[in-house]
Symmetry: D2
Subunit: 366 residues, 4 copies
């Protein structure tokens, strides 16, 4: 096209000289070529390319969130990019079945040659976790050393710095805290909501106590869970109690954020709340997919290695399986589900609140 | 076509009058139609149709295995049908994301109306588990009652009977025991194999002991795992020790079967072992997919219900998550991977053994 | 749960007596049981269940659209349900690989017994197509008879009636026509847009004419396509010319609707246009998936039958392949892409228009 | 591990310095960073990595096939690797939906900057097509120039040379020709098979002629298709006629190969034919997936570009859509399906033939 830009060739544009010459199978180097090592290398290179893209999206989302006031326009973009990240994660999960076409015996042909290389050394994956908001203190202990010990010193330092940068969890927390509709004058929303939920708990406990087929032990265990849920719910209304529960790991989001998130969830049909609701949903999706990815990864490790320790010096399966639960970031958003009540039992919004919610976020306060 | 059969209409052939009139949303019955209840019903009906197909395939596989001598021809069929079962399971897993388009709040619109209906009452799924080989004793305790207590009395009785019928696990066990190549005269395969594996363990332990970045606690834990693996391996060669380990749940397959499975895995390139190897792989795939299905199911339960107890009177997430590990059936086959050594270190097969393995299973002994 | 509703059992709730007894393989009836006929039946029953769900969603969307003024709140719901339909279609496409585990030879075991039953007799699928907006006149001719001739007389009559009911295409057309921002006073948007696009065409033609590696024939063909695109674009600004082009099948949407759709697409970042943009995207997705479904179906027919005519008396592959293009409904929305220009070249919106677009659809005119 | 190999680090092993520094967005270079250009680059780099893997597998398969006599052992490997290629293609198809998260308008932000780079310049994809067996003469004309004109001169020369190397199609052809069971003495298989198929054609034609709802035009068209099928079938038994049909493009495989493939398909249950049958199935799968990939690609091109010509100077959609059919390689294998008859009507194999088929390929003639 007679256009203003110099012509571009596919091969150079994509840097294919670098991309396609970056495969150096150890088994070839050592004179015992193992056919499947190429697969092993390429599968992991593809993972790293997608990690780069995930980071690219995560960083852009964080740049938007870093602003004092997030514009409507940009919130749509945030959701779009989080959804894209989820699409990429789905593909990463599906990709595991390609690696599983390599049998454990074929892996053994070159496995010893790679020692101690391991996925634990993926700098980008660590960056991604940090960007999402995974904190050092919440991490699974890894060989009693900081998790960055698997990285090169430069990378470890970069992670140290990155941990001080904004992350998705904190941005969400802050953004939720700022939502305007929590202190609507004269609206005793939380009081009537509390009443409805407490009635639900009474009903649920009755059910357990009178259940014809539950044994004593089960009744006890179920009532215990319920009492915990009830306490968690109670703590939503007393900041001090909440902070105590939070210290014990029952919540990660702040007192105000949890309120805002609950409000968004239950009144998500209101025009002004639709986009915030989509944001929360996008984060739940992303979190579930990350968890699922860790789990599928664990199953694959078991299949490939049995109970042997991985190349990274850890029983891959155990570590990965434990991380599925421990490294979840947005389980508060799932946890809230426990306190939902059906629309028909929701306190009705006062007319003026509803009218206000008919407009859009970005116009608040303007 | 002027053919011998009377004409058939799509609608009648597929019994669509029955299929498409079997949706009776409770929310309609009670006068508060909830749009998403239709989705809920249809998703579960589709699951049950697929369960019927899974049972159809499982039953056919068991019929073939029940024969005194399984023919080559039919072993190909067995693998084909197991692979089909895996394809179906993949779809069942993917289908979860359709149910997840229903939000927790939408579920609440009709959830109370369904009480105490629950997936625990799926007769077909229980049949399928029994057919695969899940034993009552190995099942997760469920409200301190037999797991069949959720079923109707007729269904519970049918399950009792089915548990006495052949199942896939037992058939595999018996089939492996009968494999002919384990007592090949004069072939001291296991001796030389043992030597190679023991050398591997020594090497691995050395590695742990000398690992520069492993803390004391980790060294201890890793050495413990290794010692266990080593003992498990040792027990492979002493029937008494093996049986003791088996009683403790370390193995489910019999002494002879484990030998046969290991032999098949490591010499799978031999023509006669290719189909047996594909059988083992098909079972590993199926088992992994079942496990994955349970896990995805657990994640969905958490998303839908938080920590509330499910309609079936149990905290769905906890039950389902616990079942992922406990209800695995063929983990012995993964476990064996621990004892693989690379081809280059495998004892070479004597020429006459190799020649014999050049022919096919079914011709053995003929 | 001590709740107000009578207890429900999974088995009855899901109508499993009907669902699981609706499989009557002909090959059993005729005394030559073919194992795979069960798969064939169940695969199609599952399709019909999903079709029921697709219709359920489509009908609900149409009910919302039928209102004189579509509320913001409900437009979110429309997009959500269209997205769910897309998720279902993805699963339907993936499901084809399950049917493909049946080999052509296995199909032959019972194929003759089904004659002349065929997917062409699926009443629900025809309903779904009609609901989406596929018109009788735009349909592929099918054995020179109305496409409803494959149905029962009752079903054919029902389709006749349904064709007079609202459909998604017409609803979209009407909804687009009503969009308020097309006649913003004093805003010469289309003039400046026209100028930008025409400049693009000049540039593109230059490119073709001067392309070093294009042969004369290719230049001619490319310039022809461009001239057509240019004419199509020109016709956007003269109602008479547009209507002529529309009669020739170049457009299906009305003059005003095409304008509105183009405006939404190019200014989709404006808050008020985000949801309309998501609606258009959802329809493009749905349309692409339907097309993809038809194509995958065609490939499967070829694989199963070669060039034999299908059980429905038509060469399935040819019919299905031809339908991929002919039965597309929303290709106007893809077609518009031809006239996009990059954001940097877009005419800037006057400040007052932009301000107005900062609010929401539903508040227009209030 | 105190092992014989020097330690390896993940980062270096995977060449991540090269892989992760190979993204140079033009929009950044020109000072107008477009967020989505990174996605565009990475998606294509991932494609190229998978193409490298596909080539790796294809080359290994060809090396095995190049041998005078393909061993049983290796035929299992061939099928395994073809299946892996199919798994990779499934992922490539799924990956399209990630690129589709980029909207056409976002693409426009940097599209002009890439001119004339295009997928037509993918050297590896061309290599892959050549390796599979796509011949220059069977290719879609591309701008009246050799398809290699889009490549660099070096790449074009390499393709020229590669076209003279073995390819999968030719290897299959040669391998089928050599199958031993076609001239089994005294076995008049083809005669009795012919009789059964001819009876089937008579029946099918009757059906069409007497069909109550087919119009004259449809009868004519259907009978024409049938007559063609019948002629194709007749030509299977006369080498001269066959060769004529082949010249007209009705067949690509040789006279003898078509016989062998048909024999394998219909007697695939015989032990000796199971692996050959799996080979044919693997090729059909691969071919279908390639076709599906081209089609999905075409749909995406339409979505991104409308009817505009692509960056490569061709209307992407038209080219890609036309290639789905024209570039199919193994449609002979689908075509054969037309001549299948059900097992119950198959000529029974003489006992000695059946006995011989009870053994394995590789032992033939030994």
């Amino acid at each position: 096209m007679a256009n203003e830009y110099p012509p571009v060739h596919y091969h150079e544009y994509l840097g294919l000289d670098r991309i396609l010459n970056a495969q150096s199978p150890k088994s070839h180097e050592y004179g015992n070529p193992a056919h499947d090592e190429m697969l092993f290398i390429i599968v992991h290179q593809v993972y790293e390319l997608w990690f780069k893209q995930l980071l690219h999206e995560a960083n852009s989302v964080l740049r938007i969130f870093a602003a004092e006031r997030v514009q409507e326009k940009e919130m749509g973009l945030v959701v779009h990019r989080l959804d894209r990240m989820s699409e990429i994660l789905k593909l990463l999960i599906d990709q595991i079945r390609i690696l599983e076409t390599m049998t454990p015996l074929d892996f053994l042909e070159f496995r010893d040659m790679l020692f101690p290389a391991s996925g634990f050394q993926s700098f980008q994956f660590r960056q991604f976790e940090v960007r999402l908001g995974l904190k050092r203190d919440n991490r699974l202990q890894f060989n009693s050393k900081p998790y960055t010990s698997a990285l090169t010193p430069d990378q470890a330092r970069a992670i140290d710095l990155l941990e001080k940068q904004p992350n998705l969890f904190d941005c969400l927390d802050r953004w939720l805290e700022r939502t305007p509709f929590l202190n609507v004058a004269g609206f005793d929303f939380w009081q009537s909501y509390k009443k409805s939920v407490m009635a639900m708990f009474v009903r649920d406990k009755n059910y357990v106590t009178q259940h014809p087929s539950l044994g004593e032990e089960d009744k006890r265990r179920n009532l215990e869970i319920m009492t915990k849920s009830e306490e968690a719910f109670q703590s939503l209304f007393d900041e001090q109690t909440f902070e105590k529960a939070r210290t014990q790991g029952q919540w990660r989001l702040s007192f105000k954020s949890v309120h805002a998130a609950l409000f968004i969830q239950i009144y998500r049909d209101q025009p002004v709340l639709q986009l915030p609701f989509r944001l929360l949903t996008a984060l739940i999706d992303l979190d579930e997919l990350m968890t699922n990815w860790r789990y599928r990864h664990a199953l694959m490790a078991k299949r490939m290695l049995g109970t042997k320790i991985g190349t990274g010096g850890s029983s891959g399966y155990d570590y990965l399986k434990a991380s599925t639960e421990l490294h979840r970031l947005f389980s508060d958003l799932n946890q809230l589900t426990t306190f939902f009540i059906s629309r028909s039992k929701l306190p009705e919004l006062p007319e003026d609140v509803e009218r206000e919610l008919g407009f859009y976020y970005s116009t608040k306060g303007s």
